[in-house]
Amino acid sequence: MGYFVQQLINGVTLGSIYGLIAIGYTMVFGIIGMVNFAHGDVFMASAFIALIAFLILTSWLGIGSIALALFIVLIVAMLFTSLINWAIERIAYRPLRGSFRLAPLISAIGMSIFLSNFVQVTQGPRNKSIPPMVQGEFVLSKSHGFPVTLSYKQLVIWGVTAVLLLAFWYLVAKTRLGRAQRACEQDQKMAALVGVDVDRTISMTFVIAAALAAVAGTMYLMYYGVVDFADGFVPGVKAFTAAVLGGIGSLPGAVVGGILIGLIETLWSAYFSIDYKDVAAFSVLAITLIFLPQGLFGRPDVEKV
């Protein structure tokens, strides 16, 4: 029992990270109908930016307070990653809007290859590890021989994810930008006719998606303490799986899907085979798309002639 609860805690933590990335996929798919293949690599780049910011703060500026350092790292990573994703949208996707349907996907695949290799060339192929940022844990129960622990870094991840999701929900549900976004999702031409700046709204969508990916990247770096240039692909596909599982286009779906994928992955590793944990996640993707293509919270896609 203790073992199971521990796996649940680990799974929800991993799932929060996937959920944050999944929101980026789901938002971009919702508004321009493309799978932003480079999103996983944007997440990886953000982890590198967080790493560099962390090193500047601790070894150059000598900031002792970890909480303050983490907060600044988060802000810096969000800013720079947003800029990167904004530029990607301007350069690689906007000229292809209205082109044939596969063009943006191919361009996104190219961008994904470019980003991961750019990081490899500029930062080197070896993985980068840092000493643990946040140490310590709560021991929840010691009964039944297996201690159940909740580490502080897991708590930080839960807390940051929850706060950001609330802020994000407010942004989409209550602000002018959120309204414009939902209008563009429904009908871009009509939204333009009633005075919504479609280009700006799409740009802002990419910026928000990148900011959330940067949060995920910072949390990932803090949780694992190691990152390398190829770390974007597999988390990217898993987060996409989460978005599909939750129903692509649905924001609560992305979060629920992310947590489900995190749980499936950790429970699979714990009870079956750690070697095949990625196979489990990829199989979930295939099975969902085949049997439940609209996902848990999505609307069915009506085919119009």
Binding site: L102, G110, F114, V244
Partner: protein
């Protein structure tokens, strides 16, 4: 013409402002990842070093480039756009007419020409690295073209079938001692079987979803190859795969070898040349079969499916069977190419079958212009030949110092090329395609008139 002399005047102040803004954005983009480098020091700690000169140089180049664009290139493009487009001249038509026979003639005499120019010693590299390498990708491109170009099904896991072919050959040849020529068709059959197996559940999906599921299948197959160590030897791969023989005569240095039997001096070049003609024949077979299939009812059904799935179904075409045959045909050619690859390398490991390979083949098909056979071939030559040339650019070391390694930039440039070509010519470099079926006379339709990939 004298309508707008004002507009003609170059706006230097505006160009400077643009260049400044571009430089500022580039500064923000590159500051973290180029301005700083994370290095592991002797005590195994991660430390930061700075690269301000490099960052500065890059920003100057970017801002300067932007300035040059607004001052010189943009006005030039505008002037060019005003000029009427010249009609297709006679020599352009001649090129179109003679390109294919010339290209086939060139690839047939290529190894002989290489030996004549650089001799036996240097020929190995040219025939192997350029000839065989490019032809494998040409073949894969043509195979994938059936799935993507003709049937309009976006397949991101094509490399899975290539892997199935390679591992089929490697395992059956090593464990049962079967020859290359028996296993070649067998590998193709096994691959197409896997094509049907994987194709069956995903038939209901369309477009991007299909792409992602095929990607997942490709990754699953690779992960199984890595983890099923008892069968595949995992990451270490399979070594000592038997090489193909020349009708039973091996290419070895001993008395029964090819060179001894034909009374020649032993040289590894003979085997390479033999392999070159094998892959050339296989590639041409792929092309020929595809061209013939396009004229059969099944090929027409593929193209109809690509254009409009609903219309296709309402005309009584069985879309399930049509899609499955496309998957199976494409997978079969990948299986041929895979078994050839295993025989040529004599070593395979899961490293050769990553997603990057699928993306490479897909980009070849897309850049060449989906459905165009010659376009795919040209794209393969440009992409694979280009990256191979990058491997050979040792003189760059003289300029940038000994630590500079041009091969590092291979995939970087590759990704950039995919993006840029999509922006420049989204329909591919060769963006016209002859219809297989036509009324009264054959017309070349611009690909922009064809709605592709809606299946």
């Amino acid at each position: 013409m004298e309508a707008a002399p004002e507009a003609r005047r170059i706006d230097v102040a505006g160009a400077l402002r643009d260049a400044g803004v571009t430089g500022l954005i580039a500064f923000g983009l590159f500051l973290p990842l180029i301005g700083f480098e994370t290095v592991t020091n002797i005590r195994d700690e991660l430390i930061l070093t700075t690269r301000w000169p490099l960052l500065l140089a890059l920003l100057v180049v970017i801002a300067g480039g932007r300035f040059a664009y607004s001052v010189a290139v943009a006005p030039w493009l505008a002037r060019r756009a005003e000029r009427p487009k010249p009609a297709t001249s006679a020599w352009q038509r001649h090129i179109r007419q003679w390109l294919v026979p010339f290209a086939i003639g060139f690839v047939v005499v290529y190894p002989i020409g290489v030996i004549a120019i650089v001799g036996f010693g240097g020929a190995l590299r040219w025939v192997d690295n350029f000839g065989i390498q490019i032809l494998i990708y040409v073949m894969l491109g043509w195979g994938l073209n059936i799935v993507v170009g003709l049937a309009g099904l976006l397949d991101l896991g094509y490399v899975a079938f290539y892997a199935v072919g390679a591992y089929s050959y490697a395992l059956l040849a090593k464990n049962f001692g079967l020859s290359f020529w028996i296993l070649l068709p067998l590998a193709g059959i096994l691959s197409s079987f896997w094509g049907i197996l994987l194709g069956f559940p995903v038939l209901r999906l369309r477009g991007d979803y299909l792409a992602i599921v095929t990607l997942a299948f490709g990754e699953i197959i690779r992960l199984i190859l890595i983890n099923w160590v008892a069968l595949t030897n995992g990451y270490a791969g399979i070594i000592g795969i038997p090489r193909p023989t020349f009708f039973g005569i091996p290419f070895t240095a001993d008395d029964n070898g090819f060179a001894a039997v034909f009374g020649l001096q032993f040289s590894p070049v003979y085997r390479v040349i033999f392999l070159y003609y094998v892959i050339l024949a296989l590639a041409l077979l792929t092309c020929f079969v595809t061209m013939r299939l396009r004229r059969l009812p099944i090929g027409r059904a593929w193209e109809a499916l690509r254009e409009d799935q609903i219309a296709c179904r309402s005309l009584g075409i069985n879309t399930t069977n049509t899609k499955l045959t496309a998957f199976a045909m494409g997978a079969m050619f990948a299986g041929f190419a895979g078994s050839f690859f295993a025989a040529r390398q004599a070593f395979i490991s899961p490293e050769s079958f990553t997603f990057i390979e699928s993306a490479t083949v897909l980009s070849i098909v897309v850049l060449g212009g989906m459905g165009s056979q010659i376009g795919v071939a040209i794209a393969a030559v440009a992409m694979i030949g280009g990256t191979e040339i990058l491997r050979q650019l040792n003189f760059l070391k003289e300029i940038f110092g000994q630590t500079f390694d041009p091969t590092q930039y291979r995939m970087l440039l590759f990704g950039l090329a995919m993006v840029l070509i999509m922006i420049w010519r989204p329909r591919g470099l060769i963006s016209t395609r002859d219809p297989s079926v036509y009324l009264k006379e054959r017309k070349t339709i611009g690909a922009d008139l064809v709605a592709e990939g809606r299946g």
